[in-house]
Amino acid sequence: MCLAIPAKVCEILKNNRIIVDITGVRREADISLLEETLEIEDYVLVHTGFVISKLDKKQAKEDLKLWDELLQA
C-alpha cells in the first residue's frame, strides 16, 4: 500500500500540479507535499497521485561510489 513509483517529471503545470512519466504512461501528479523545486527530467516518487520525494541525484551518484568501495573491499 505504501507502494511509491519512480517517475520522471515531464511538464510543470499550474496549481501545484505536474505531468510525470511512469514507465511510459503520462499522468498528472500533485506536488503540494514537496518543498523542493522541480525541474523537467527530475525523478520523483509518486504515491496515490502525490509526489512524496525527489530523487537526490548527488546521493544516487554517491551510492555508486560507495558500491565500488564495497565491491572492492
Partner: protein, 365 residues
Amino acid sequence: MSDPTERYRSKHVTEILLKKINKEIGQIGNPVRLMHVCGTHEHDLVKAGLRSLIPKEVELIAGPGCPVCVCSAQDIDEVLWVADTHGAIITTFGDMMRVPGSTESLYQAKGRGVDIRVVYSVSDAIKIAEKNPKTDIIFFSVGFETTSSITAAEVIRTSIPNFSIYSSHKLIPPAMELLMQRDDIEFHGFLAPGHVSTIIGSKPYDFVPEKYNFPVAVAGFEPVDILLGIYSLLKQIRENKPKVDNVYKRYVKEEGNLAAIRALDDAFVISDARWRGLGVWPKTGHEISKKYAHIDAKKKYTIPDLPLTDLHKGCLCDEILIGKTKPSECKLFMKSCRPDHPIGACMVSHEGTCNVAATYEEIDL
C-alpha cells in the same frame, strides 16, 4: 541522468552483496532473524526470490506492515454501518474491498447493493463528492505515514459538506517499539520501511538503537536496496554497534519530508488504534484532529458499538501479522483460505503475507 532504478537490480552487485552477507553471518556464528514492517518489502523481496538466495541462517520475518491486513474488522463494520443507515457512498482503495469485516467484506456488501467505489487516491473520492452533492461520501482511509500524509493534505484543504473521511491510519515507529517489547517473538534487527521513511525521515527510529540496542536499516525496494539493508544489519550485529543506517538516501532524508510532516501534525492527532486480532495498541493510530472535525466521519456520525469478530475461526492472522507464525503453519492456508477465497485479511492484499506466500512461494500442496 537516467532512471537509477535499474542499477539497483544489478545481478553483479547482488551476487557480491550475497557473498558479503554470507561472510557476515559466518562470522556471527548464530542464526539471525530480521523483521521488516512493510508489505511492499514482503512483496518485493519474495518476488525477487531473496529468501531463497540469502543464507538459511538469516531469516526475514514479515511484521505488521500491510495496512489493510492490520485494519480491524471494526473499521469495516463501522463504515458499512454508515452506508446502511445514511445511504452514504463508500470510497476506498481497491486493496480494502475483500478484507473481511465481522460479518461481511465491502465486496460482499457491494453485492447486496451498497454503493462502494474503488479510488486511486483520496483526491478521486473528493471528485465523486463534488459530483454527488446530495449524497454523503465517505473516504475510508487506510495506510501508514506514507498514505496518511496524502490524506492529511486533503483534510487541510477540503471542505465539502457531503464529504468525510474515516481514518484507520496507523503509525510505524510506535508499533516497532511494541514489537520489541513482546517476549513471544525473537528477532535481532529492523529493516525499516523505505516509503514511510520518505515522509518521516530516518530520525524517528533513533530510539531503537538508543533505547533497545537494536539495529535499524532504512531500505528501498529493489533487490540491491534490500540486500544492502540486510548486509548493514548483519554488520551492525557482528560489530555490536547498533545504529540507524539509511541505505535509501537517494529518496530518504534524515529529517524526512517536512511539508508532509507538517500536514500530518496539523491534520491528525495520535490515538490508540485497534490492530486486527491484536487488540488496541496504545498511541499507534492517527485520528483527524479537532480542528478538522467537520471532515471526520467518526464525529459526523454517531456510530454505535457493534459486535466485533476480528478473526474468523481457525484464522491465525494475528500471529502471522507479527511474524510469530508462518502462513504455511495455518491450517486454513491454501485449503479454505486462498487468494480467490480469503478468510483472513493477510490473504487479501497482494502485500499480505499469506497472499504473497500463496502467489510466489513454493507451496507443498
